[in-house]
C-alpha cells in the first residue's frame, strides 16, 4: 500500500528574514508498515518562483541573463551565472504574470505565448521551493544590453545564444543554474514540436 499520511508534531522557527527556515518534527507512514520514528528536519523556505526561456524559432537562439550570485562565491571563483529570466512570486501573483514582468525588466522583452516547461522542485531534500518554468517563442532580433532595476541593485547582462551552444554549455558546466538547465533540456527535446504546433 502506498503511504499517504504524515503529521507535523512540532515546528520551530529558526530563521525569519528575507527567507525562512524551520526545524520540524514529523512522522510519516512507512513502506514497511506502521509509522516512522519522529524525524527532525531543517526546511529552508524560498517560496515559489517563475522562470522563462525566450526562444526565437527562426534563428534557434535563446535569451539567458548573466548576473552576480553571491551564493556561488562559496565555491566558485567567478560567481556570475547564466540563467533564465526569473523571479520569486509575490503574494497573489501568477507564474505567468511574473514571467512577463521579469522578461520586460530583465531583458526588455514583451512576451506573447508562454509554453509550460515544467514545475520543478529543485532541491526537495531541504528546500521548500517550486519553480514554474516556461518557454516563450519570440523574435530576438533586437535583444541585448544591460537591464534590471538599478534602484534594486539589479545588474543584468542579456546574452543571446544559439540553442545548441547553450546546450553545449550545460554539458561542459558553463551553465549550471537549474532554472536554465531544465528549460534548455526541455526545449532541446521539444523544439521541433513547438515549431509544428504539437506542443
Amino acid at each position: 500500500m502506498k503511504p499517504r499520511r504524515f503529521r507535523i508534531e512540532a515546528r520551530e522557527a529558526i530563521w525569519r528574514g528575507h527567507f525562512r527556515a524551520d526545524r520540524i518534527t514529523i512522522r510519516h507512514e512507512t513502506f514497511t508498515g506502521g509509522e516512522s520514528a519522529p524525524l527532525v528536519l531543517e526546511v529552508f523556505d524560498l517560496g515559489e518562483a517563475a522562470c522563462v526561456l525566450p526562444w526565437d524559432p527562426a534563428s534557434d537562439r535563446v535569451v539567458l541573463v548573466e548576473q552576480f550570485r553571491g551564493a556561488v562565491a562559496a565555491f566558485s571563483e567567478t560567481p556570475w551565472l547564466l540563467e533564465t529570466i526569473a523571479d520569486d512570486l509575490g503574494p497573489g501573483e501568477t507564474p505567468e504574470a511574473v514571467a512577463r514582468r521579469e522578461a520586460m525588466e530583465e531583458a526588455g522583452l514583451t512576451l506573447d505565448a508562454l509554453i509550460p516547461a515544467g514545475r520543478i522542485l529543485p532541491c526537495p531534500g531541504a528546500v521548500a521551493t517550486r519553480v514554474h518554468a516556461f518557454v516563450a517563442p519570440c523574435n530576438l532580433a533586437d535583444a541585448g544590453g544591460v537591464h534590471g532595476l538599478a534602484e534594486e541593485g539589479e545588474d543584468i547582462l542579456v546574452r543571446v545564444l544559439d540553442l545548441d551552444e547553450a546546450l553545449a554549455m550545460v554539458d561542459d558546466g558553463r551553465i549550471q543554474a537549474s532554472h536554465a538547465t531544465i528549460p534548455l533540456l526541455w526545449l532541446a527535446r521539444h523544439r521541433n514540436g513547438v515549431v509544428s504546433g504539437s506542443v
Partner: protein
C-alpha cells in the same frame, strides 16, 4: 569587458544546526561600470550532493526511489516523491563514490560505469549547493524492494519503470525533483548513444 571582481565585506551567522545560514554583505563590479552598493544576502548552506539515474540499456528501464520529502509538503500533491538515487557528499568525498554508495544503500545496486551528465545549482539565488548528476548502466532485474539506512530513518521503495513511462511522468508533472528531471531529459536526448555504448548484448 572589465574584469569581474567581488568582495564579501562581512559574514554573520544566522543559525547553525544540521545545516547553516549566514548573512553575507557583498559588493561586486557591475556591467554598467564601477562597483555595486554593498548589499545583504541570506545564504543557506546544506553542502553538496550527487545523484545517479540507473538505466538498463537492454530493457530500457529506469530505477527510481520513492521517499518522503518534507520540503515538498507546501507545493506537491503528495510529499512522497519519485526520484533518482541521491545523497549528500561528506567533506573530501568524490561524486562517483557517493553515487556508488547511495546506489547500494538506496536500491541494492552495484554500479560499474558512471557517465557524468552535468553539475547544476538547484537554487543558486540563496543555496550554495552544487549537485552532480550521473547516469549509470545497470541490470534492472537486480533492483527492487524497500531500502535505506534504518539508523538514518531512510524509508525508500525501489521502482523499476519503463523509460517511456518515466519520461511521461516528467512531462505531466508526476516527477518534479530537479535532479531526476535533468537526468531523464538528458537520457531522452542521448539514449541511442548510451545504448550502443552500454548494451550487454553481443
Amino acid at each position: 569587458m572589465n574584469e569581474k571582481k567581488y568582495e564579501i565585506v562581512a559574514k554573520e551567522p544566522l543559525y547553525e544546526g544540521y545545516f547553516r545560514a549566514d548573512r553575507w554583505m557583498v559588493r561586486h563590479t557591475t556591467f554598467r561600470g564601477g562597483w555595486s552598493d554593498v548589499h545583504p544576502l541570506e545564504i543557506f548552506d546544506r553542502g553538496h550532493a550527487t545523484s545517479v539515474l540507473p538505466w538498463d540499456p537492454d530493457t530500457d528501464e529506469v530505477v527510481l526511489v520513492e521517499q518522503f520529502r518534507a520540503a515538498a509538503i507546501p507545493t506537491a500533491k503528495s510529499p512522497w516523491l519519485l526520484e533518482a538515487i541521491a545523497g549528500a557528499m561528506k567533506p573530501g568525498e568524490k561524486p562517483e563514490d557517493v553515487a556508488r554508495r547511495e546506489a547500494m544503500e538506496e536500491a541494492g545496486l552495484t554500479l560499474t560505469t558512471l557517465r557524468h551528465v552535468t553539475s547544476f545549482l538547484p537554487s543558486c539565488g540563496a543555496v550554495t549547493e552544487e549537485l552532480h548528476v550521473y547516469v549509470a548502466p545497470v541490470d534492472a532485474g537486480t533492483a527492487g524492494g524497500v531500502h535505506g539506512l534504518q539508523d538514518e530513518h531512510e524509508d525508500m521503495k525501489v521502482h523499476v519503470l519503463p523509460f517511456a513511462e518515466v519520461l511521461a511522468m516528467v512531462e505531466d508533472g508526476r516527477i518534479v525533483a530537479g535532479n531526476t528531471v535533468v537526468a531523464v531529459y538528458w537520457l531522452a536526448l542521448h539514449r541511442e548513444e548510451m545504448r550502443a555504448l552500454w548494451s550487454r548484448k553481443p
